[in-house]
Structures are given as C-alpha cells and as structure tokens.
C-alpha cells in the first residue's frame, strides 16, 4: 500500500512537469520581446495593484474583526459564508462587470486608461475580499494569544493591541496574503475577458474574445506562469513561517 501511495504522490510532480514541459517546448518557437510583453504586463500589474487597493484594506479589517472581536456565533456563521463567496465562479463577476459596472464606467470614459479599467478593477477587488479575509484571518489566528494577553496586562486597549501587537506579529503572514491575492488576480481571466475591452492583460493575451486559446499560447503563458509561480512560492514560504507558530 505504501507503494500505491508513493505512486499517487508522484502524480502532482508529473502533472507540474507536464505543464512546464509543454510550455517549455512551445516556447522554443521564440520568446516575446520586452516591447511586446510590456503593454500586457503593465496592464496586468495595474489591474492587480488597483484591485488589491480595494480588497486588502476591506479584507484585513474584516479578518481582524472575525479573529479578534466577533462572537463565536458570528464566527460560525460568517466563516463558511466567506469561504463560499470566495468560491463563486469568475463568470458571475464577469457578468456583473459586463452588464453593470461596464456601462457605468463608459459614461465617464473619455479615452482615459483608468476609467476603462474601472469595471474590471472594482469587480476583481470585490471578488478578492473573501479570499483576503479568509487567509488574513488564518495569519492573525496564528499569533500566540499570550502576546495579546501581555498587551492587555500592560493596559493597552483593544485597538492598541490590534495595531501594536497583533498586526506587527502577523505582518509576514499578511504580506503573504497580499502576494496570494496578487497571484490570484494576475491569473484571473473571466473578469478581465468580459470587462476589459480594448486592453490586454497577460491572461487575455492567451485567449481570444470568444474564449478560444491563442495559437502562440506560450508567448504570454510563460511570463504569466513565472509571475504567478514566483508570487505563490514566496507567499507560501512566508505563510509557512507564520503557521509554524500555531
């Protein structure tokens, strides 16, 4: 049975090898120049940064409330709800961006880049809030209770304990959450495909408007994989250190 389990454990390794090998072979036909890559990469980073500006503050405050202040009953009710919200399909948010935020943004758009990105940014930001909240709560919960008790014993208020003890102690984990959310946003395709007309990100350079794959999928697929993998690996490393406290 140990051999069976070991063979099963090799499957993710083979899977990753298959994906990376495929893109490696496809990229033998040539890699994109910086000039070609610059525009989609810049649009991707801009959309990700603006979406995180919305998602991270709201998600962090919500996570702090759930971790530090919410009653057990509220925690039991809200945690599964937020996990569910994080699982809502991207096509639903893309539909909202297409039908609601898109027409609103078009009334402001006079050719400026930011209003044209607004539908995708706003929707993606709201889509990331539950993810940020769930991960940040895990990072905050890993802070030893003894640190909080020490702060209360020294006469600090709840806000001071949060601001001066909990958040600094969980800082590495919270930055890991930002990176996880950034990787998720960079890899998001549905919302940007349905909402970001006229602008291309790395993901929408891989798929056409009808959703089919581009012929040279590795051209932008390899930079996308590198970007999301680096963010994910660094975030995982930081989060593992935070989890070691628990």
């Amino acid at each position: 049975m140990g051999v069976v389990l070991q063979l099963g454990a090799l499957i993710p390794v083979l899977l990753l090898g298959a994906v990376l090998g495929l893109y490696g072979v496809l990229s033998l036909g040539g890699t994109p120049t910086l000039a070609v890559l610059a525009s989609p990469l810049l649009t991707t980073l801009t959309v990700v940064a603006l979406a995180l500006l919305i998602a991270v503050p709201v998600g962090l405050v919500a996570a702090t409330y759930l971790s530090e202040l919410a009653s057990p009953r509220e925690q039991r009710l809200l945690r599964p709800l937020l996990v569910f919200f994080a699982s809502v399909p991207g096509v639903a948010f893309g539909w909202v961006a297409l039908t609601i935020t898109g027409p609103v943004a078009r009334t402001w758009d006079h050719g400026d880049p930011l209003p044209s990105m607004a539908p995708a940014v706003v929707v993606m930001g709201m889509m990331l809030v539950p993810l940020v909240c769930a991960l940040a709560e895990e990072a905050l919960a890993a802070v030893p209770r003894a640190l909080r008790e020490a702060g209360w014993a020294l006469g600090l208020s709840d806000l001071e304990v949060i601001r001066r003890v909990v958040w600094p102690a969980a800082a590495r984990g919270l930055w890991a959450v930002v990176l996880f959310a950034g990787a998720r946003a960079a890899g998001e395709t549905m919302v940007v495909l349905m909402a970001l007309a006229g602008r291309r990100t790395l993901t929408t350079s891989i798929v056409a408007r009808d959703g089919s794959l581009a012929h040279d999928v590795s051209r932008f697929g390899v930079p996308l994989i590198v970007l999301t993998s680096v963010l994910g690996v660094v975030a995982h490393h930081w989060m593992r250190r935070v989890r070691s406290w628990a």
Partner: protein, 253 residues
C-alpha cells in the same frame, strides 16, 4: 476608540462582501425576470443539458482527482521526509499558484475530432488537472486536523505508520475529508475559463454551464439566459458548500 466602535467598523467591513454577493444575486434574478428572451435560450443547448453536462464532467473528473489527492496527502502525512514527499510538496506549492488557464494548453494536446466525445476527453483531462491540486490541499488540511496525540498514542502502542493511517487517522479525519472532497467538487464545478479555452472553437461543443453563460453574455447578448445559467451554477456550488458544512458539523453542536 472604544471596543464598540471597533466592532461596528469590523461589521461594516464584513458586510461589504455580503452586500456585494446580495447585489450579485439580485441583479442576476432581475436580469432573468426582465429579459424577454429568457425562456427561449439557444435551442441547441438548453440549460438542463448544460447543467447535466457540467455535473457529469465534474463528477467524472473528481472521481479521478479525489483518490489521487487522498493518496498524495496520506503519503505526505506518513513519509514527510522522503525524496518523493519533498518534491511533491514543492510541486504542490507551484501547482496551487498556477492560473487555471495555463492547464487549457495541455487539453489542446488531446486529439480533436468533430464529434462530442473527443471534446469530452479534452475537457476531462483539463478539469482533472485543475482539480488534483485542490483535492490534495483539501485532503492535507483534513488530515492535519487529526491531533498528533492520537498518532503518537497509536505508534506508542506499536502501530506501524500504515496501521496508524488506516485505523486512527482516516476514521478521525473522515468528516473533514468528506467536506474537503465536496469543496473540491464545488471548485471543479465553478471552473470555467480553462474549459472555455479547450471547448471554444470546437465544432461539437460539450454543454457546460460556465462556457454556456459566457457565450450567451458576450456572443449572443442573451443576458437573461446567461444570468439563469450563472444562478444555476451558483446554486449548485452553494449546495455543495452547505453539504460540506453539514459533513463537518459535529453532532450536538
């Protein structure tokens, strides 16, 4: 600031995603009700075909991915320091961060034919690849919840690693494993973009809720019918999450 003030600020922050979801559902329902073309969707692919197509594809992909996820998690639990376990853990870190669209290119390697079966094969390969990392993570999280004291007690009584896994860890982690499996299926059900990348352009399109909603929204402009498909998809995902929540709930709590 008083604790009361902090609580209200926190509640306002938590309310934002709740209100966003409520707004999403209300706008979808309104679109279904308002659009006069709802009820006359694409004749070739009624929503029921898309629903059963999605369920069939998801369950068949989960049937392959979940055992792999459980086997991988059990191996990592029992032998965490072997060469295989170290490389598997590293592979999992990278796989978990890959965007789903990157798996669609692998599906393109499966030979294409004009009938629906070859397309199903491609879709099954891609969805299984997307679901394997999710299944592994869910199984690992479930196994980690088993107290180490139970394992230590079993091994102190002379149980081998496999015996500990089979007689102590698996039964204790059973409800959490079931919940994790349901969440993995929900994740697979919600997957759209990688399947769209495989399916779009094929002559014999396999009925799937997510790509169906996408085509109705962007190509045909049938926003009401698209909203109905999205609502159906959200309802199925919500049911799976509710079932996972029930599976994890301890009796008497």
């Amino acid at each position: 600031m008083s604790r009361r003030g902090l609580v209200w600020i926190g509640r306002a922050a938590v309310a934002m995603p709740l209100l966003a979801m409520l707004g999403l559902v209300v706008s979808l329902v309104a679109a279904v009700a308002i659009d006069p073309r709802t009820g006359r969707p694409d004749e070739q692919m009624p929503i029921w075909s898309a629903l059963f197509g999605s369920l069939g594809l998801t369950l068949s992909a989960a049937a392959a991915a979940l055992p792999v996820g459980l086997a991988t998690a059990l191996y990592l639990e029992a032998w965490p320091r072997t060469w295989t376990a170290r490389w598997c853990s590293r592979a999992m870190v990278v796989l978990a961060g890959l965007p789903p669209i990157s798996f669609a290119a692998v599906g393109a390697l499966v030979p294409r034919d004009d009938d629906g079966q070859a397309t199903f094969g491609r879709l099954w390969v891609v969805l299984t690849m997307v679901t394997v990392p999710v299944a592994v993570q869910a199984a690992r999280a479930a196994l980690r919840r088993v107290p180490t004291e139970l394992r230590a007690a079993a091994q102190a009584l002379g149980a081998t690693r496999l015996t500990t896994l089979r007689d102590v860890v698996l039964p204790t982690a059973g409800p959490a494993l079931l919940a994790g499996a349901l969440l993995a299926v929900a994740r697979a059900m919600a997957e759209t973009v990688s399947l769209l990348g495989v399916e779009a352009g094929a002559r014999g399109a396999f009925p799937l809720l997510g790509p169906y909603a996408f085509r109705l929204s962007t190509g045909d402009g049938q926003l009401g019918a698209a909203a109905l498909a999205i609502l159906t998809l959200i309802a199925v995902v919500a049911l799976l999450h509710f079932a996972a929540h029930l599976a994890e709930a301890e009796p008497g709590r």
